[in-house]
């Protein structure tokens, strides 16, 4: 099956699944034809392949930001990362600094394969936070994207 045919089939299949029963079959095929026609004039097949690769790459990961702020003490990084490892959250970025006497550790983590929910992870972090006199915030990446990127 060539790429054009596969795309056309996918569009048809999705429309059928989503709208199948609620819409007249003629209307359905007319919509699917229009989408395919539009796609063939606005995007060339190479670009489509690229697009799919990019979207797949994006879909694979779901990022969250863990921010640890408070008084510096021995073993903060060890404790935080131990919990992340136990939760199967992969650390993708790490940045640590002392800002005006306060310890600040920012971790970007991939939560897509985590074995517990963000709420649960926050609860576990709260225990460390209390023990070590820190504040630990876990926030989905989207909040930073929407507030800081146009």
């Amino acid at each position: 099956m060539d790429i054009k045919e596969r795309i056309e089939n996918s569009v048809k299949q999705i429309l059928n699944e989503e709208l199948g029963a609620s819409i007249h079959p003629d209307k359905l095929s007319s919509i699917s034809n229009k989408i395919n026609e539009r796609l063939s004039t606005s995007v060339n097949p190479d670009e489509l392949v690229l697009l799919r690769m990019i979207s797949q790459k994006k879909n694979d990961k779901e990022m969250a930001v863990v921010s640890v702020i408070g008084q510096d003490s021995v073993g903060i990084v060890a404790e935080v990362t131990r919990i992340l490892a136990e939760s199967s959250a992969n650390i993708e970025g790490m940045n640590q600094a002392i800002v005006s006497g306060y310890f600040a550790l920012i971790l970007t983590i991939d939560v897509s394969s985590m074995n517990l929910s963000l709420d649960k992870l926050q609860e576990l972090m709260n225990v460390i936070a209390e023990k070590k006199n820190l504040k630990i915030y876990i926030q989905h990446e989207n909040i930073f994207r929407s507030m800081n990127r146009i």
Binding site: E92, L118, D119, N142
Partner: protein
């Protein structure tokens, strides 16, 4: 890492230290499919619809709030104006019984307020609306969550002065019926000009007749964030700098609100309506609109220059917010509810912020004379005249204005009342003593202004 450490820390600071939150997610429900011959059955149908769409609103809002580290303070429901749903005139008992069913449903779901015990009477009052209006003070006294709003004017239709006078009496009666609770009934009653159909903020929220079946609207807050940004500017920073600073913050606040609102809507399976860009203060220290005005260089909010400062603030908030979201609606402007804003309340108590200055300020912001406690011996006619003044500002300027006054029975200028929670506390502000009785009793309608002839 995709984000600078400073960006992440700034967001955390806004949320945890500067009171930035999503003030309300308000689920708007159309009730036209709930209409029944019996008002009790109508209310039961409303109850079913509220349970169907709103049961999970509190849980969902908390979940999404947790995901982003953003507090969603209030979860509310707005309804199609109930005067349209109850049909023909009903007895007072029937209205109260129906309202109680709806109120209890709200309690069951765990929401804070239900908006929509409302009537749109800007051009005329039908017999059903007349009976409905009479029931408002009783319903407010006998329910806890239900809020009422009445639209008495629009730029297109002019001011229905009969309705204005009626509202003067209704406000007075609402105060008397809740005299034992510091006139709390009046805190849930707003008189409007040009009422928006998609406002998520109480007490004026309703789900307009032009809206869809079920929509989620969002109101953000954030005076604390704007205050700290303006405060950090040098004293000689010019107005362009102030405006730019406010715009940037408004952009961020709006984006956060939109993200959270859309996620809650998606999770609830309802459509996202609008984001309301209002800066809504709370009685919490550091969450005040008056603080922002003072940070611009006024010694006390209410002094000369206050209206200009507020105009600048309001405009910059809108510009930043409008760029951040395509669906902006509701009231979208800075609020100046006196009792709900700690600094504003303080300045009013000190005598710097007078009734007349507040009225002038409403010409350049949203929404109007809001949460002002006035002497208990103020007559219904004087209240009607205050409403007429405020409403005419809205009608002539093609904007929304509103009045929410508390004529606290037995209280005089200088006395203090405490309403609790977000409603805050207030010192009684004096109003003019000279009568406007002959004026407000003339009856009829003040014609629509020339500005309405736009076609």
């Amino acid at each position: 890492m995709n984000y600078e450490v400073s960006e992440i820390l700034e967001t955390i600071k806004m949320n945890s230290l500067e009171n930035l939150d999503v003030r309300t997610v308000t689920l708007g429900l159309s009730l036209f499919d709930c209409i029944n011959e019996s008002p009790k059955q109508t209310a039961e149908n409303v109850r079913e619809k509220m349970l169907k769409y709103g049961s999970n609103i509190v849980k969902t809002a908390d979940k999404i709030g947790g995901r982003y580290g953003v507090k969603i303070v209030n979860k509310r429901i707005s309804l199609t104006p109930l005067s349209l749903i109850f049909g023909k005139p009903r007895s007072l008992e029937e209205y109260i019984q129906a309202a109680k069913i709806i109120d209890n449903t709200g309690k069951e779901i765990g929401i804070d307020f239900i908006g929509g015990y409302s009537a749109l009477v800007h051009k005329g009052i039908t017999d059903s609306e007349s009976a409905f209006l009479d029931s408002i003070p009783y319903v407010l006294a006998e329910t806890g969550r239900i809020c009422s709003s009445v639209n008495v004017a629009t730029t297109k239709s002019g001011i229905n002065m009969d309705a204005v006078l009626r509202m003067g009496k209704i406000v007075k009666q609402a105060a008397e019926l809740t005299a034992d609770r510091q006139a709390i009934g009046c805190a849930k009653l707003v008189v409007f000009a040009n009422i928006p159909e998609d406002n998520p903020f109480m007490a004026g929220a309703l789900h307009g007749p032009g809206e869809g079946d079920c929509t989620l609207n969002v109101g953000v807050s954030g005076p604390g964030v704007v205050f700290r940004a303006v405060k950090s500017l040098p004293e000689d920073a010019d107005f362009e700098v102030i405006s730019e600073t406010v715009k940037k913050i408004a952009f961020k606040i709006t984006r956060m609100g939109e993200l959270v609102g859309k996620e809650v809507a998606r999770e609830l399976g309802v459509s996202f309506g609008i984001i309301d860009l209002s800066l809504a203060p709370t009685p919490a220290i550091g969450d005040s609109v008056a603080d922002i005005l003072e940070a611009m260089g006024l010694e006390a909010c209410g002094t000369h220059g206050t209206t200009a400062a507020l105009a600048l603030l309001n405009d910059a908030v809108k510009k930043g917010g409008a760029f951040a979201s395509s669906y902006v609606g509701g009231l979208s402007g800075a609020f100046i509810p006196v009792s709900e804003d700690a600094t504003m309340e303080k300045r009013a108590a000190e005598g710097h912020l007078t009734f007349d200055k507040l009225e002038a300020m409403t010409a350049v912001c949203s929404v109007g004379l809001d949460m002002i406690a006035i002497p208990g011996d103020t007559t219904a006619e004087t209240i009607a005249a205050i409403i007429a003044d405020e409403i005419s500002i809205g009608v002539i300027n093609s904007k929304t204005t509103a009045v929410r006054l508390l004529p606290v029975p037995g209280a005089g200028p200088g006395d203090e009342i405490s309403l609790g929670g977000l409603l805050g506390r207030a010192r009684i502000i004096p109003v003019h003593k000279k009568s406007a009785e002959i004026f407000v009793r003339r009856g009829g309608r003040i014609p629509a202004p020339i500005q309405s002839l736009k076609n």
